[in-house]
Symmetry: C2
Subunit: 456 residues, 2 copies
């Protein structure tokens, strides 16, 4: 028999998993919409030439490729590839619909991407990215609003200890130049500097040397990228005549000042922040929490990428949050509101024999009109113990029981499963009676009786 596990590196999301994800997506969406971002969705696959060459040599290898349909199958010919990130599809969309999109297009996009990585703990082949990008302006208010929006999302989700690190591509270049690293070795040096947390200062210096950087420059590099990011300290590190370096530092400080005005929290200037993707051209940013290795997300300004599709450059700045990492931390910390992991059904209805099925369905309909979530225990016929047990296992707050006696009296027996209490209620008022109790438990979880969503 075929394996029934999902493919390696992918996951099935059972109901509680989906509810957690929907909670996060709901917060992200509503916050981003308040910042003027609009939703965009692109197909799961792209023509393969759209993706090839956009993610570097390593990236090319990790793109999932789809066989051309029909007669070509035997040749291994491929024409499509699964979405690898949300930025390249955005650049294609900008080129294709430039004339109908707003001049300053701000979009959010929350969709899965796929990477043919070797599956490992915490490394998936299918995972969701939540991106915002603002296209069309070079103004620093763009960065400020993106930082504020990301900060707002994390605060609204309940994070209070995140730190947003900021840097600027050209400031990195100025500091490398000030350390005596030749321009041709900048990219290589950044790879080493980026490992500081893992291999320590001495490790970085050694690696810089193996990358062809002189002992003197390597030692300077380590000290230049060390320590606090106070403005005066950084200015002192820049070469005296490096006007661009000073202007860039002022630019990133302006962005931080504006982002603070816009409500962004916990920003720090970190001159050692590099971020891998080579398409960044200006400010770069990353957000992290203390108890998670790696970041919750990152972004920056990339003024040239859209031009690869459009034929002329369009300024752009964006930020990508990783949904799985957010969910991992929120789950570990118990940050989800009780309703998210709580019961999915407010009322279960059981009927004692088949003659009462239609009555049970009518009661269910009336309860649903009261916006209650109702499940019918499908098997009638004196199996009340089974219905009770099942309702308990589903953590349903109320079980409504329809029997011949109750019908004769125009009543419904309603059992409060948490309170282990049962009473008979007039059939006519039963739906409203249960709706009122469910609503009370929802708004005041401390009240006596069943409290949907807060039973564990």
């Amino acid at each position: 028999m075929t394996s029934t596990k999902p493919p390696g590196g992918t996951r099935d999301f059972l109901p509680e998993d989906v509810r957690r994800r929907e909670h996060v997506v709901g917060v992200i969406r509503s916050v981003y919409e308040r910042y003027g971002f609009e939703p965009l969705e692109t197909p799961a696959f792209e023509n393969i030439e759209t993706l090839l060459g956009k993610y570097g040599e390593e990236g090319n290898k990790l793109i999932f490729k789809i066989l051309r349909r029909g007669e070509h199958e035997g040749t291994g010919d491929v024409d499509l590839a699964l979405r690898y990130d949300l930025t390249v599809p955005l650049a294609r969309v900008m080129a294709q619909y430039r004339s109908v999109l707003p001049r300053f297009f701000k979009r959010y996009q929350i969709q899965p991407v796929w990477r043919a990585d070797r599956p490992a703990r915490g490394r998936f082949r299918e995972f969701y990215q939540c991106d915002i990008d603002a296209i069309g302006s070079t103004s620093p208010v763009v960065e400020a609003e993106i930082l504020a929006a990301v900060s707002d999302v994390l605060s609204t989700l309940g994070f209070d200890d995140f730190v947003i690190r900021l840097n600027h591509r050209r400031l990195l270049a100025s500091l490398l130049r000030a350390s005596g690293v030749p321009d041709s070795l900048h990219e290589s040096a950044l790879v080493a500097i980026d490992k500081r947390d893992k291999i320590g200062a001495d490790g970085v210096r050694a690696e810089l040397v193996t990358r062809g950087i002189s002992d003197l420059a390597a030692a300077r590099c380590v000290s230049v990228f060390e320590g606090g990011g106070g403005e005066a300290a950084i200015r002192a590190k820049l070469l005296p005549g490096d006007n661009d370096g000073h202007a860039t530092l002022s630019e990133i400080l302006t962005i931080m000042e504006l982002a603070t005005a816009a409500g962004a929290q916990s920003m720090v200037l970190d001159t050692s922040l590099a971020r891998g993707l080579s398409y960044y051209t200006g400010a770069i940013m990353e957000v992290a929490v203390p108890d998670l290795a790696g970041s919750l997300g990152g972004g920056g300004r990339y003024d040239n990428l859209v031009g690869m599709f459009l034929g002329r450059d369009v300024p752009a700045c964006g930020f990508s949050l990783g949904m799985e990492r957010i969910i991992v931390v929120m789950t570990e910390r118990g940050m989800f509101p009780p309703a998210v992991s709580g019961v999915a059904v407010d009322v279960m209805i059981a009927f004692m024999n088949d003659d009462l099925r239609a009555d049970a369905l009518r009661l269910a309909t009336e309860c649903r009109k009261q916006r209650l979530r109702v499940e019918l225990f499908p098997e009638g016929g004196r199996k009340l113990d089974k219905a009770l047990k099942y309702a308990g296992s589903r953590r349903v707050p109320f079980l409504a029981i329809l029997g011949e006696d109750e019908r004769a009296k125009g009543e419904v027996a309603i059992r409060d499963l948490a309170a282990r209490h049962q009473e008979s209620v007039s059939r006519a008022v039963a739906p409203g009676w249960m709706a009122a109790r469910v609503e009370r438990a929802r708004t005041d979880p401390g009240a006596a009786g069943a409290a949907p969503g807060v039973q564990d």
Copy 2:
């Protein structure tokens, strides 16, 4: 330069498209949750052996196949395939998580599927299915609740002219037997009978004969599957000793009676409804509207499919709604509420010079705390005419303008773009002032002044 169109048979969803889809998904989700269905999501691809052989010969050809990663790429070796429907992944999930899922598992799943069909008008290679399935019970209340839930979704979306056609696999068999069609030709005969709408009664009769059915049986077939579905008329058509046929007819009538009690609308028994998929074992159903060729969705009972993965049969019944068809009809009929196709931004903020940027961002933050959706016109510096024009093109109801004069007076100039009216408002109360006006326009679109979402 690479083409910037999405791949053939796929679509980019620009903001208004996404909002339409989100509206439909939101209704489907909330209705299905009231019926006790819980969300499930599965990966975009499955191991290829999970899908092969499940959809017939034609289906096999339409499965998108993904190249095995790494060194195997050259050989055309495939190990994964894109999701083709939501039912086979559900059957796999049932087998994998049987012990942790509720005994009566009711799930909804709204995800895209992919088929390597030749793209054509209205035929996509990527499209969304919205499925509900109830696993674990043979009770007819299951069918009744599924029919009521689908009916409720369509009514809530605003459809008032849909018709749900119902039939039963075994009733089809009984009527074919009564017509004199040998059991071995039942499947083949149904293909012909299913074409009645397209080729007429004479066409069906001719095709039945070419499929090896006698002239007499073909003629009987046409008359047996013709005409109204009244109980007496159908009973008269059954063979006298066909107890199973009579019992099946009673069963489907019971389902309709129970579904009516559960609130399902506009059901008709249509003995000619066949539905292609061979895995149905009991009731089959289909829903359509007059102005759309084909159906909006369909489903039925399939008691053997889960067994292909689990090793033992588990009863199941489900219904799949096609999102694209629902959206096509709703768009053509103008059924989307105004807010869905309306403006995405409540307030735009413009600043007259760079010194006012931080003020503008603070104002934006305060407006967002009032739950307004705010966009900053990013380019300051006396470009008020540009900001005005842009706000107009974005159909933003209010433009808040921050200039030096306003700052000196502690005011904000607020322009109502629909009313072409501008007034100065105290800076301190401006966010609340705008929030109140936006809220008023939202709840009373007939009121004077800008009405977000109802301007066109």
